[in-house]
């Protein structure tokens, strides 16, 4: 309903994509009204997956625009490449589907700035210790200057032995890690093997590289497999670094200072947890985009300990979040009872076949 009222105000434009720019602008203000970075309509468009409501409007408008076919094909091509199974060989060459789509959008929007995806200021860090890896993250999700989510989960499960922290655009990190997790689950079922951390890092690198930086996901991937504990960081353009300790996000410089100072190889688990917690805390205190609680995830060969929260923010305002009031809380001034007399007009009985 809202989409229709937004697009009815759009200038008369022959292209079906005349609906889309208005929708993205409408969604941007809609999104900032609600303050949540997770409304995925606009972000779905960035991924090339046509959302259902957009489709309904687009197909209503008939057009002979020459730009219609290649852009729509690029959208569907983008969708198919994302859903491709890991068992098929990856399609060769680079994937420029989204850059073509962006160029067309830029021409259509000309004048007004293109919509930008919402980023979550973040501090995420990780390190390798004697028995495995420790990953840590703050829990603040921002939408501009407003905290949209005080308790968002930035450590995503990839498999039983691998977890991934994500910074950057919230939708991109969630979707990338979800797709990675489901593809690896299919791989495990098909091959009867637990996936290696290196495989997950390679898949992430392949996906992010093919989209040339358009997917704003800065990831820290950590896990334990048969060959030991590994920690990788993957950038949005598809560069991979394998390091003993790493931090990403807007608070990463603050966190890295703590890690650089106190990291030692083969630390014990409690010392490692404290170090990662301290590094995330440095980001929480020193970066405006990070805050609230600290989540930790300790991965060893035997077990995974997902501690959420490891440390709660000391700056809560003590709200119970329970709004159930006992009867009598509100004073009753007067009472009037009006019985509703209803006449039976017709009665019909229909048998249901139940076996």
């Amino acid at each position: 309903m809202e989409i229709d009222s937004i697009s009815s105000g759009s200038p008369a434009s022959p292209s079906p994509l005349g609906a889309q720019p208005m929708q993205l602008n409408g969604c941007r203000s809609f999104r900032s009204m609600l303050g949540s970075p997770d409304i995925s309509l606009a972000n779905n468009a960035y991924w090339g997956i046509p959302s259902r409501r957009w489709d309904a409007n687009a197909w209503k408008r008939q057009s002979s625009s020459a730009e219609q076919l290649p852009v729509l094909m690029s959208l569907f091509g983008g969708e198919m490449s994302l859903l491709r199974s890991p068992l098929q060989p990856p399609s060769p060459g680079f994937s420029f589907d989204l850059t073509e789509r962006n160029a067309v959008l830029g021409r259509l929007l000309e004048g007004s700035p293109p919509p930008r995806p919402v980023k979550t200021g973040t501090t995420i860090s990780g390190m390798v210790f004697r028995d495995g890896v420790v990953l840590g993250a703050d829990t603040r999700a921002t939408s501009g200057d407003v905290v949209a989510d005080k308790m968002c989960a930035k450590i995503h499960r990839i498999s039983a032995n691998m977890y991934c922290c994500g910074a950057g655009t919230a939708a991109d990190t969630q979707k990338t890690t979800d797709l990675l997790a489901s593809n690896l689950a299919l791989f495990s079922l098909n091959s009867q093997r637990a996936p290696r951390v290196l495989m997950a890092a390679s898949i992430l690198q392949d996906t992010l590289y093919r989209y040339g930086g358009q997917i704003g996901a800065h990831l820290i991937l950590g896990g334990v497999d048969y060959s030991g504990a590994h920690l990788y960081t993957v950038g949005p353009y598809g560069s991979v670094d394998k390091l003993p300790f790493v931090s990403m996000g807007s608070g990463s410089m603050a966190a890295l200072g703590i890690l650089e100072d106190r990291y030692k190889p083969n630390m014990e688990v409690e010392e490692a947890k404290v170090l990662v917690r301290d590094s995330v805390q440095a980001g929480i205190m020193g970066d405006l985009g990070s805050g609230s609680n600290v989540d930790l995830c300790v991965i060893t060969a035997q077990a995974v300990d997902y501690i959420r929260p490891y440390q709660e923010s000391q700056y809560t305002n003590g709200r119970n979040r329970k709004y159930k009031y006992p009867p009598g809380t509100t004073a009753l001034l007067s009472e009037k009872v009006v019985p509703l007399r209803m006449e039976l007009v017709t009665e019909a009985v229909q048998r249901m076949e139940t076996h």
């Binding site: 900032s32 680079f94 590289y209 950038g235 353009y237 991979v240 390091l243």
Partner: protein, 216 residues
């Protein structure tokens, strides 16, 4: 401000502002690189080994965009594996360099990475090839990366044809150290790879092991 994008380096591409060197000597080749990977003004990885193996006795040195360079190196590594299996013997350095050149030339508008290929094969001994922008040229020594501009003169003056293994290693380390001290985008540790008929030797020179010059 509703459109908060975070600090600039969050959206900047990760580049290896770099110094990479490859020098031929009598019987082999020495490749050297620094270890700094930057995203805008911040260092993303201070210990990256930019000397990437393409085959047993062929290495390449990466510079430019980290993602592009890593991907080219991995692609050529795969192609060389297939090629050497088909041949039944070790590939030539020239073949490896040609494969890198093919990718660099075909995608020259889309990629921003420069790889120097160096190695040893039975037919030609130690060889160094530069593949900048998709050309292919064999040179006695090749430089690349942002730090290379500071040391062209030094290497031109100090290179001796027919030098031995240790002299060439020392030359490469000295050149790297000079470039790393002058170029803001190069730094960290120095990696050295020496390839000859007997095998491959990898060495790391930590910060305090690098040679120092007049102002250090």
């Amino acid at each position: 401000m509703l459109e908060e994008q975070g600090p600039e380096w969050m959206s900047e591409e990760v580049k290896t502002g770099t110094t990479i060197i490859a020098v031929e000597f009598d019987g082999g080749v020495v490749l050297g690189s620094d270890s700094r990977v930057s995203a805008g003004a911040s260092v993303v990885n201070r210990v990256m080994n930019k000397l990437s193996p393409l085959h047993d006795r062929i290495y390449c040195a990466l510079s430019g965009s980290a993602a592009d360079a890593q991907t080219i190196a991995e692609t050529v590594n795969y192609q060389l594996d297939v090629h050497s299996m088909e041949l039944g013997e070790d590939p030539l350095v020239c073949s490896a360099a040609t494969l890198v050149k093919n990718i660099s030339y075909q995608y020259k508008e889309e990629l921003s990475a420069h790889l120097i290929v160096g190695g040893w094969d039975r037919r030609g001994g130690g060889q160094v090839y530069a593949t900048l922008s998709g050309l292919l040229t064999r040179q006695p020594f090749a430089l690349g990366g942002s730090g290379s501009s500071y040391v062209y003169g030094y290497l031109d003056a100090e290179y001796r044809a027919g030098a031995g293994r240790t002299d060439t290693q020392r030359l490469v380390v000295d050149t790297l150290s000079l470039a790393m001290s002058r170029d803001g985008s190069s730094g960290g540790v120095a990696y050295l790879v020496t390839i000859d008929g007997d095998g491959v030797e990898e060495k790391v020179f930590l910060g305090n092991e690098l040679p120092t010059f007049y102002d250090q």
